[in-house]
């Protein structure tokens, strides 16, 4: 048979170094240590060096925005892929955190460095309380309701003409300097990234992942699912509100546009492109997407078309994302094998 001789298949094999370094005790050489540390070091040092490598007037404005979107994407990835709550309302967290921080700053004159953390914590509590009634929902129902929350708050502010109405709150202080601004958000991003990565591997993270996989089984083990979901939402909304608070201080303005769809859609796009469930993926996705969208700013609304098409392409044809692919390439090699 002629065809039988030409049949081949591709096989993937873990690199030996990965097999040995899966358990920490197996580290035998600097080479193996470097294998484990290099990707993390590249990320951390790369992010920390960004403000130094990108001086000028324009990029120092973009880098904090990238980090803020990355925080939101991290928050989406954590909720969607580790707890099973798909929240389409990143803008809700941004809006609540942003408005609280803006009010603290303009009414009581708190410095942004104090107002932002306070707004993050109190905003997190507010968001969790508001989302509490819909935590028993799941799947498409939870997604729709979280999409509606920011729209609802925006309309309420518009209709009741509270919190500055359509004009928003003007005169919010900015961070003391561009360096503080950039390093504050970069350090926050790194801290939360590694903290959440640690969190999902603790006992609490195990329960959360179990809630995602099979909530009935978790409930059958006598655990209160809503309690754990609320805890996860609290963690996520603190991060989201912190991002919102920083954003308001960067723009020096809080208005209805902090509830805009951008903050819900772009993080999701970044997560899909970067690779869902990897936690680092969303950050990488933001590092790719946000600068692209800044470069496309001249084209106006075309950039939204552009990245919704990217999102569509990735989610339908390549749903694993960049990060999963890169991890596979890093840790495994492929070869053709005749059968």
């Amino acid at each position: 048979m002629n065809t039988a001789t030409t049949q081949r298949r591709k096989e993937r094999i873990d690199r030996g170094i990965k097999v040995r370094s899966d358990g920490l005790y197996a580290l035998m050489s600097w080479r193996e240590l470097a294998y484990l540390v290099a990707p993390r070091a590249v990320l951390i040092l790369g992010l920390l060096a960004l403000p130094l490598l990108m001086p000028g007037v324009y990029w120092p404005r973009v880098i904090p925005i990238v980090c803020i979107y990355a925080l939101l994407a991290l928050n989406f990835d954590f909720l969607a892929h580790y707890v099973g709550l798909v929240s389409l309302g990143g803008a809700f967290f941004v809006g609540v955190g942003g408005y609280i921080s803006a009010i603290l700053n303009t009414h009581w004159g708190w410095s942004p460095l104090v107002a932002a953390p306070v707004a993050a914590l109190s905003g997190g509590v507010v968001c969790t309380i508001l989302l509490l009634p819909c935590l028993p929902l799941r799947g498409v129902y939870f997604a729709i309701i979280t999409l509606m929350y920011p729209l609802f708050l925006a309309r309420v502010i518009e209709a009741l003409n509270i919190l500055g109405g359509t004009d928003g709150i003007l005169g919010v202080d900015s961070f003391p300097s561009a360096w503080v601004e950039q390093y504050a958000v970069i350090v926050l991003l790194l801290v939360f990234l590694f903290a959440i990565r640690r969190l999902v591997n603790t006992d609490l993270g195990l329960v959360l992942r179990a809630v995602k996989d099979n909530d009935q089984a978790v409930r059958a083990s006598g655990m209160n699912i809503t309690h754990y979901k609320a805890l996860a939402v609290l963690i996520a909304s603190v991060i989201g509100c912190l991002a919102g608070a920083c954003l308001v201080h960067i723009y020096m303005w809080a208005g209805i546009s902090v509830f805009a769809l951008d903050f819900s859609v772009l993080p999701i796009a970044a997560t899909v492109i970067g690779g869902g469930g990897t936690l680092v993926g969303p950050v990488i996705g933001c590092l790719i997407l946000v600068p692209v969208s800044e470069l496309l700013r001249d084209f106006g609304t075309l950039r939204i078309v552009f990245y919704s098409l990217i999102l569509l392409g990735f989610i339908t044809f390549r749903s694993e994302g960049v990060m999963v692919y890169a991890q596979r390439k890093y840790q495994q090699f492929e070869r053709w094998k005749t059968i």
């Binding site: 929902l137 509606m148 609802f152 309309r155 939204i304 078309v305 339908t316």
Partner: protein
């Protein structure tokens, strides 16, 4: 009396928005977030056919309906078919399509107040002392006719029965030789055509603006959720509830609150009874 008349008209308009969304979700369990975008798109297709290509009005309406149905079918065949069953991907993908269509329209210059479709019949009459223009009466008439036709279609034609079979139990329908992918394409085309029908009926009452795409989507979702996702009778009833509630808030509170009512309806319904007034979802599918 004014509340009664305008409430009815508003309710029929809401029902028209929601029918297509309810049809697609009811049959293929696909939350089609591109519904509002298709609505606006078909308005612009009708406008272009009428003004740029110079077609006759009736013919341009038909063109808009056919093209929108085709676009719906293509969207399903190319994108959504690959991610069917993954709820979150469905939402994100169809939402991305909606954004691409709406922002694409805005980018290509379809914005501002210049785009209007002419009314079918100009002028107005008065019912019990309230002046109502003929277009709104046409809307109510066609809306009622459409619901009746849909009911007949799904109860007495082979395709309609197949669609209903698939909505009830997809596996059983597959076993009886109903091709669920083809049926889902048909459902999507029909749903898009219903969006186009709603557009050509309702857009002559105002301007065609891109922003209305988002509002139509929200209203359609509101109606479908309050009525129960997947239940058409529920959708019609919910359209009347929300429609009258909106007119009442406009009369007693002010027009700013119109959208707040719809959003509040979604949030309250989802919190209190996610399956809606007439939903047939099992308790486990929606909440724990």
């Amino acid at each position: 009396m004014e509340i009664l008349i305008y409430g009815t008209i508003n309710s029929v308009a809401l029902a028209l928005y929601a029918l297509g969304f309810a049809l697609v979700y009811g049959i293929s369990r696909l939350p089609n977030f591109a519904h509002g975008a298709l609505y606006v798109l078909s308005g612009f297709i009708a406008w272009s056919a009428l003004h740029t290509l110079g077609f006759n009005y009736l013919f341009s309406i038909l063109t808009a309906m056919v093209i929108t149905a085709l676009i719906g079918a293509v969207i399903y065949r190319v994108f959504l078919i690959r991610i069917r069953g993954m709820e979150i991907s469905e939402i994100i993908a169809s939402y991305a399509i909606a954004l691409a269509i709406l922002e694409g329209l805005r980018w290509s210059g379809f914005k501002g107040m210049t785009y209007t479709l002419p009314a079918f019949i100009g002028g107005s009459t008065s019912i019990a002392g309230i002046s109502v223009d003929y277009q709104r009466i046409v809307v109510v008439g066609v809306g009622a006719l459409l619901v009746a036709l849909l009911w007949l279609f799904t109860h007495y034609t082979r395709i309609g029965l197949a669609l209903r079979g698939m909505a009830q139990d997809e596996r059983a329908a597959l076993m009886l030789g109903i091709d669920s992918d083809v049926m889902a394409i048909v459902a999507m085309a029909l749903g898009s055509m219903l969006a186009a029908v709603a557009a050509v009926l309702l857009l002559p009452l105002g301007n065609i603006v891109v922003e209305s795409g988002y509002n139509v989507l929200i209203l359609a979702i509101a109606v479908c959720i309050v009525g129960g996702l997947g239940s058409w009778m529920g959708a019609v009833l919910a359209a009347f509830i929300i429609g009258f509630a909106q007119i009442l808030t406009v009369v007693y509170l002010g027009s700013h609150f119109q959208m707040v009512v719809a959003l509040l309806a979604i949030i309250l319904t989802l919190i209190l009874k996610p399956s809606g007034l007439f939903g047939q979802q099992k308790e486990l599918e929606e909440r724990v």
